[in-house]
Every structure is written in C-alpha cells, then in structure tokens.
Subunit: 122 residues, 2 copies
C-alpha cells in the first residue's frame, strides 16, 4: 500500500549521493542546479534530514578540515561534513525508486484522462 505523500526529499538526496559523496551545502546547490531552480532544499529541510539519514545508517560521514590560506598551521579552518551512501542507503534508494515508479504509473492513470480534451496533454 503506497502512501499518497512519497518522501521526495529523501529520494532526491539519496540519488545525489549515489553519484558521488557530497556535503550539505553542495547537495543543496546541486538540487537547485539540476532542477533548474524548480526544487529547493534549504538548510532547515536538508540538515535535519541528513542527521536522520545518518542515524538510520543510510549514510556514513566524515569531517573535512578545509584549510584556510593562512601561514598559521594551528588555525581553525572551516569544517565540511561529507556524506557517502552506505550499502543500507543504496538499498533504501532502490526501494525509493521502485516506489516512485509505481506511484508515478498509477498517478498517470488518474491524471491522463483528466488532462484529455483540455489541451493539457503533457
């Protein structure tokens, strides 16, 4: 039984991470860029979700110390938290994709007849 509210945000994030490990800010920009600005994933949506993914073991994380252009070797640099898809995360992504495809084909059967005779075909 499918829910009528598929968790698209999680699907998108997992899909992005499936291509290459990334970090929060880059994911946010990637989603906006690849959707040509149609999808937005702001900090308040993204970071709680990444935390949730981490807790569920769907992603593994690493902190990267982004070195500043400084002579001081003890300087505290900016930190970047990298996320990479775990095996469990890959399985979850596959489930998401399967659910999405199923939901899509069913929704199409509802939408298609309603779009006919109104020029809204596509």
């Amino acid at each position: 039984m499918l829910t009528l509210k598929p968790d698209h945000s999680e699907l998108v994030v997992l899909a992005v991470l499936a291509e290459a490990p990334s970090y929060g800010y880059a994911i946010s920009k990637a989603v906006a860029a690849r959707s040509e600005g149609h999808f937005r994933l702001g900090p308040s949506s993204l970071y709680p979700m990444l935390t949730k993914l981490e807790k569920q073991g769907l992603v593994d994380t690493d902190w990267e110390e982004v070195k500043a252009d400084t002579a001081d070797p003890d300087a505290e640099g900016r930190k970047r938290k990298w996320y990479r898809l775990s095996a469990k995360g890959q399985k979850r992504l596959a489930q998401h994709i399967e659910a999405y495809h199923r939901a899509r084909s069913i929704l199409d059967t509802f939408v298609a007849p309603a779009a006919e005779g109104r020029g809204a075909t596509q």
Copy 2:
C-alpha cells in the same frame, strides 16, 4: 519553485471528480480500485479534504436522499453527499496536473542515473 511534497491526494480526488460527480464513499472505493489497491484514501483522510475543497469553492455539493425499500414515505433514508467539480476546481486541477508533470520530469532526471547499472531500469 516547486515543493518536494506535492499534494497528491487532492490531485487524485479532483481527477476522479473531473470524470463524473461522485460522493465520499464512492471516491474512496474508486481510488482503491483504479490503483489496484496501491492507493488508499480512508475516511479520516478523505472527508476533511472534501470539506476543505468545499470551503475553497473547488467543488459544489448536494445531498441526496437515498430511498429505503420501505412503504413508509416519511421514513428517514440514508444520506449521500455528492461532490461535483466547479469551474474553479477545474482550474485547480489543471494547475495540479501541470505541477505534477513538471515535478515528474525533474524527479526522473534524479532517479534515472541512480537506477542505471543496477538493473532497476523501469
């Protein structure tokens, strides 16, 4: 800017009503039937939504007195509340469909590469 959480329930209900006027219980059954049991729209999801649609003027309503198989002409029969799509509701449906198509094509670009090389090409 699209939200990542399209209101599929409303889309589905409006799409069903676009084909023919109907009432709550029938809509619930129609959704389950047409999705082959994959979509479920129970009373606690459906009725609050229909009320909302009515308040927003997207549907017009009529009560039907379902006559019982009784000799008594004064008998109180079961009541059926019919919903039919208004002009405003048709416009809203068109917007829903457009948003759905846009969201679908964008989501596909995220999903497609993630599905490659894993036999999940469907």
